[in-house]
Amino acid sequence: MHNAGHLIWIILVVSVAFGGICRIFRSPRKILSFMCAGVLVVTVPVLTLVVYTFYYGAVSSAGQWFYIDSLSAFHLVVMMLVFCMSTFYGYHYFDEKIDEGIFTTRLARRYGSLWFASLTAMTLVLVSNNLGIMWVGMETTTLVTAFLINLYSNKTAVEAMWKYLIICSVGIAFAFMGTLLVAASAYTLETHVADVLLWTKLVKVGEVLNPALLKTGFVFILVGYGTKAGLAPMHTWLPDAHSQAPAPVSAIFSGFMLNAALYCIMRYISLVDLVSETFSQELLVLFGIGTIIISAAFILSQHDLKRLLAYHSVEHLGIITLGLGLGPAGIFAALFHTLNHSVCKSLGFFCAGRLGQIYGTYDMRQISGSMHLSFLWGGGLMGSLLALIGLAPFALFMSELLIVKAALETDTIWAMVLFLAGSSIVFVGALKHIIPIAWGKPSTDHVCLKSMLTDKVLVLGALALLLMLGLWMPDVLHEILYRAAYIVGGHHN
């Protein structure tokens, strides 16, 4: 167990180091290749850890400051999946920009180091047992990724970056306030100062925590991390940032960074549930529903493809949040949905990114006939969007079904009705957008690049994964989700 804990250090150090190594290469192509290799290398210890956790239980290290249980292991898997996909996607994504000389070595270096830095930061969030360090990791992701948005400095990108930076910083500041309040709630606890913010400690002594302070803290946490997770009405930065960032970056934003923020909230859910059974549920359901409805409104009226996808992220984060508020079954569903959404949304951004390059715009009114132009990317976008709006047999349908079921089981009928109404509106709206994008006469004479093998593998693989998860859940996944859900909401039982 002790040895396994070292792996955490290895992951963190290696990915930081890779970020540094990116700076020594002399051509963008090399850097991109290195990134692919690097991410794969990082995957090895991560997966080892996850497997270890699965078979031998939670792993901790550094005096319990690092800790990996099923919940974090699950998120680590999702994270690595999204990162691997995005990195490999990035390998060809920049082809055109490299040829045009826009994606220079300097930019590539910056891109590479920030990429690994954000990987590190997110890993830090997931592996820390100390709620303070978790916060530090979360804030770091904000800061690191800010420059990824603004990779090619231009007006809108700067604007997006600024909004992202300020809004998320404010949110994260609240989250810190919340962290402090939670720490304060443990004032009766006679522990060593180093242990006071340890989640494992707090979870064990739930009864002695001061309820009022803990609840106040949770509200701060929810609003704070919720800002980062894109819950309405704190989601305002999200469409801007997603639409301006390069596609691989949007993919990790949507595919994982939002989930990381929610992961933080999950940790606090298990704390606050110790003092009040329903306190978190009510708030989460409320936020979930609100988020779904508001995002639905924007999806309906959206004209920008990437913003559309961004609002879909908002919606799905809302769905996950809703699930988190619906008891153990809901949490299970929410976690499952996390995985599905991450894969699906990354795929969506991949395809949108390439289509954007092909058409030279993200304005959906000017994109049509993408299926004719590129069966891979057009079809991939269609597939991912159809999956996103919840069509069976894709996995997102299954997880949404689980959420509805959870709502029925907990008798949260009003939430279920609103959820279904909201998702129907999203369905109607999004479908209206998808159809003309996919079909019709191509609106550009841009010659489509030949799709590379990695691209094909990515798109088809992601779709196949979504399809598989929609029809069959491997026992391993079921077990891991179950355990993770138990960690978040097991106290209800």
Partner: protein, 660 residues
């Protein structure tokens, strides 16, 4: 059961094979169609096995998602619906192979066949799914696949719109089903149908309502029918045939299934069905009358026929709740037979429409005319379909309507109390529907196939190829056959009826079935007499004319000197008296450019009859929602200060509300 699953696997696998080989259209077509045919033929084996022996085949496999198992079961009810699924699929696939020849230069047919096979497999799985989750997934596959089939001509914005309407309607319907199954599953602790226990449900009527809306939107109950008139004209004809002939019946299957799952219905439910049925039937046929797009017309007729089926179910349900096996046999039996019959003649009609469209390049009835001379087979089979759908003897349409009539006549005769009023209403409704349908199909057949071509294009029309003719011929033969064998077919429905009545009339149902079958047998005798008489008359006239000189001339023109083909009666004018009668419902818009001056050169009249429900209900609803939601857009103006204010306000509200 394994055989059945094998057939589904064959169908799906051949679909994938078609997708993979999409670069070669002939190969992928061969694989796709071959797979459907082979798979369906194999699938028919267990189907008939179950239906004949009244047994059940089932299979449980462990499955995580299902809160239960991967549970598939062919019981009599499923097998009854599987027959059209497989049977019509084979015919439409063969037809499709010929139909799509035309597009092999421009389209990737492999993709089409992939989704076609998926649709067939999806329908088969829906019919056997014994688990709520499996049912929902199959249902969604079955609903999603046609979306890609409907949008075969995806470059046309009209088709895109049709695809959108279709998918939205079907998905919104599916949401109700989702809640329906989950609610039952949550109440009974398992999603397997055999664990469902109606006595434990709290909201039976709510469940019933969910089922009606969910399945009704697939079947095309008014007012959930709006997708039908959009999707069918857009789709290739074999797809319309399969959708209209079989897929919408899966909604009916679902209704039957939910009856089984929900237990003994309350009286009100029966009335709901009868009410919906009457409205759908009458409004459906009325709207059909006003259409002059051939397939749109047929689509509305699907609505009408679904209405008839629903009336039958309603009568049966009343019988169930009143413990009256006669009504059950007549109503449910009639409904079941009509399912089968409608799947035959409606696919036949759609295939015919497809041939017509193929040949003349249009679906606009007003532009056609005289096609019978150029397309004798298509014309004849279409006539058979038209007569069958009007319920004319000696074809199958009459048999099922006859049973439903009988049920309602029985009800009107022997039942007491104020509630009986529904029965005469059914009789009147059915009679009216029959009369209007006759108008509609004399119009459709008469204007399209008879007279002379109204446009020059009509002159060059050619009969369609063999692979298209054969399915139509088979279907029309089946229409006649089912008309003559009504009694026997009804008898095979005995296990199905026992199932939907939850075995409550185990003794009475066979008895009543025999009675009903006997009167059907008498009908058959009359049919035989009719056929005999007709044959006799044919020979009689032949004999009369054999010694005479038979001349050909022009049509008597009532003294007018230069009649042209443009002067023929048009479809719109043919139905004008009736559409005038129903003008308040139809709200037909006339676009007239009246004659001017002494020698008017150009005069025109165009009529448009959009769907009232769409125009008056759905569009305003969607627009209203959109407007309200667009109102929310102001929250995102781009002002970062405002954004921060949102965060702060949220926080403060939460603190005040939650913490204080």
């Amino acid at each position: 059961m394994i055989v059945f699953l094998l057939s589904v696997i064959i169908i799906v696998a051949s679909g994938f094979a078609a997708l993979v080989t999409r670069r070669s259209n002939s190969l992928s077509t061969f694989l796709g169609v071959g797979g459907v045919c082979a798979g369906s033929l194999i699938g028919l084996i267990p189907t008939f096995n179950v239906l004949i022996h009244g047994s059940r085949l089932s299979l449980h496999l462990p499955w995580h998602f299902a809160w239960g198992s991967f549970f598939v079961e062919i019981d009599p009810l499923s097998s009854f619906f599987l027959i059209p699924v497989f049977g019509v699929s084979i015919l439409t696939a063969v037809y499709g192979a010929g139909y799509l020849q035309h597009y092999r230069q421009t389209h990737l047919l492999g993709v089409h066949w992939f989704f076609f096979n998926l649709l067939v497999a999806g329908m088969a799985m829906v019919a056997v799914a014994g688990n709520g989750v499996l049912f929902l997934i199959s249902w969604e596959v079955m609903s999603l696949a046609p979306f890609f089939l409907v949008t075969f001509h995806s470059d046309q914005s009209k088709v895109q719109h049709a695809g959108w309407v279709y998918l939205v309607a079907t998905h919104l319907g599916a949401i109700f089903l989702l809640v329906f199954f989950l609610l039952m599953g949550v109440n009974s602790g398992s999603m397997d149908f055999d664990h469902f226990n109606p006595s434990g449900y709290h909201h039976l009527s709510l469940l019933f309502l969910l089922a009606v809306i969910g399945f009704g939107s697939k079947s095309g109950f008014i007012p959930f029918h709006v997708w039908l008139p959009e999707a069918h004209p857009a789709a290739p004809s074999h797809v319309s045939a399969l959708m209209s002939g079989v897929m919408i019946k899966m909604g009916i299957y679902g209704l039957f299934r939910s009856l089984v799952l929900l237990g003994v219905p309350s009286v009100g439910w029966g009335y709901v069905f009868i009410g919906i049925g009457l409205i759908s039937g009458i409004a459906g046929v009325t709207f059909a009358l006003a259409q002059h797009d051939l397939k749109r017309l047929l689509a509305y007729h699907s609505v009408e026929n679904i209405g008839i089926i629903s009336i039958g179910i309603g009568i049966g349900m009343l019988g169930l709740s009143w413990d009256n096996p006669v009504l059950v046999v007549m109503g449910m039996g009639g409904a079941l037979l009509h399912v089968l019959n409608h799947s035959l003649f409606k696919s036949l009609l759609f295939l015919g429409a497809g041939s017509v469209q193929h040949a003349s390049g249009t679906l606009e009835i007003e532009h056609m005319g005289g096609l019978l001379k150029r397309m004798p087979i298509t014309g004849m089979t279409f006539l058979v379909g038209a007569a069958a759908i009007c319920g004319l003897p000696p074809l199958n349409g009459f048999i099922s309507e006859f049973l439903i009539y009988q049920g309602s006549v029985y009800g009107s005769m022997f039942l007491e109390g104020a509630t009986v009023g529904a029965m005469p209403a059914v009789i009147a409704g059915l009679a009216l529907i029959g009369g209007l349908a006759a108008i509609c199909f004399t119009k459709a057949f008469g204007i399209v196939f008879l007279g002379t071509a109204r446009r020059e294009k009509g002159v060059s029309v050619r009969e369609s190829r063999l692979s298209m003719k054969i399915p139509m011929l088979i279907l029309s033969a089946l229409c006649l056959l089912c008309g003559l064998l009504g009694a026997d077919i009804l008898k095979t429905a005995a296990p199905v009826l026992n199932m939907v009545t939850m075995n409550r009339f185990l003794d009475a149902i066979p008895l009543e079935l025999i009675k009903a079958a006997n009167s059907l047998r008498s009908v058959t005798w009359v049919f035989a007499g009719l056929i005999l008489i007709l044959t006799g008359l044919i020979f009689f006239r032949k004999w009369l004319l054999s010694k005479r000189y038979v001349q050909e001339g022009v049509t008597w023109d009532c003294g007018y000197i230069r009649p042209t083909s443009r002067m023929q009666y048009t479809a719109s004018s043919f139905v004008q008296p009736v559409t005038g009668f129903f003008r308040n419902i139809l709200q037909t818009r006339n676009i007239v450019s009246p004659p001017h001056g002494l020698f008017p050169t150009k005069v025109s009249l165009t009529t448009k009859t959009p769907d009232v429900f769409e125009k008056k209900f759905y569009s305003p609803l969607f627009e209203g929602t959109k407007r309200i939601l667009f109102g929310l857009r102001w929250i995102q103006q781009g002002r970062i200060q405002l954004y921060i204010a949102y965060i702060v306000i949220t926080l403060i509200i939460l603190l005040i509300w939650k913490v204080r």
